[in-house]
């Protein structure tokens, strides 16, 4: 053996001390998720985000890496959530023309949907005896994760728990939207898209774009409007009721 080669554990210590490991892990897990999603003919059950989260969670548990340590590296990906939120202005801008004449129905549907999201989640969680920390995580869960985490800080809920619930909501929405919309006999793509955007933000929007472009545009509109209004109204509503 070449004496100049470092021992395996030295390489490991070096790698796990740099952000590289968490970045490689995050990106490759997501890539694996996308590959499985494509292999499964974009079946909603094979949601790429859910697969990626499961892989990363399993790996960092297996190698005994604390979450804080993982996040130190993965924060570079996480940071881009804010940038992606700003970039939402583009699909909203493109959707503005389509919005004309539909603004009232869309806003009414958004307010009804947003209220339903909070009341049903918080109501059911209270009814089934969840503790206060868990309930706090439900308030912003239908809003896109970067905004949800900002809202969580402002209402003294845990941003991480809120993000977990937001992402789970997104994944569930992406999986269930087809069945719910078919059961209700919803035919127009813009209505289906808007509903999934309001309920299941970014992950629902990704799903909508992969099914139909018009659904995708309206989903990003729904997500964007819910994000903007939610950021203002959710803290007010919480302060009002608490």
């Amino acid at each position: 053996m070449n004496p100049q080669l470092p021992a395996i554990h030295e390489i490991w210590v070096y790698l796990s001390g740099s952000p590289l490991l968490a970045l490689i892990l995050t990106l490759s897990a997501y890539q694996a998720g996308v590959m499985i999603y494509e292999k499964a003919d974009r079946n909603p059950l094979a949601n790429p985000v859910a697969i990626a989260i499961a892989i990363v969670a399993a790996v960092i548990t297996a190698i005994d890496m604390p979450y804080a340590k993982y996040f130190e590296g993965a924060q570079f990906v996480h940071f881009l959530l804010g940038t992606a939120t700003v970039a939402l202005a583009v699909p909203i801008y493109k959707g503005l023309d389509a919005l004309r004449g539909r603004i009232f129905p869309l806003l009414a549907a958004l307010l009804a949907g947003g209220a339903t999201s909070i009341l049903s989640a918080v109501g059911i969680a209270r009814l089934l005896g969840a503790d206060a920390a868990i309930i706090g995580g439900f308030y912003a869960k239908s809003v896109t994760a970067p905004i949800a985490m900002g809202v969580a800080e402002r209402i003294n809920a845990s941003p991480t728990l809120t993000a977990v619930f937001a992402v789970t909501t997104g994944v569930l929405g992406a999986i269930l939207v087809r069945f719910v919309m078919d059961a209700l006999g919803m035919k127009s793509w813009w209505q289906r898209g808007f509903a999934v955007g309001v309920a299941a933000h970014g992950i629902g929007t990704s799903r909508a774009f992969s099914v139909h472009p018009e659904a995708g545009t309206y989903a990003s509109l729904g997500m964007g409007l819910h994000g903007v209004l939610g950021a203002v109204l959710i803290p007010l509503a919480v302060h009002f009721f608490a």
């Binding site: 995050t26 996480h78 804010g82 970039a87 202005a89 009804a112 719910v180 992950i203």
Partner: protein, 114 residues
Amino acid sequence: MIAGLVQILLFQGLGEIAARFLLPLIPGPVIGLVLLLAWLRVRGSVPQSVDLVATAFSQNLGLLFVPAAVGVVMYWPHIRSNALAVAAALVVSVIATMAVTALVLRAIAKDEPE
């Protein structure tokens, strides 16, 4: 591509500054979104470089959620001891939200040609 990213980052920066000093109730990126939207309206079109970056983001949005959501490992024992409430609340709520949004939309917009 880089020109688009620079512009979006600038608006994010403006939003963060506005959130810090003027509007503490609203997250910075949301203010950045609104400012960028206003600028696009004034400009009347989307610069190609900005469009490129925005499309790249919206197609890979899911990736950006992974780091925060892996936080589930930290809350796992807590979530598991509330498993039924959490599962029921999440599943019922997302179905109800989609259904209510879609039904309200259809009810109000029904006289419009599809």
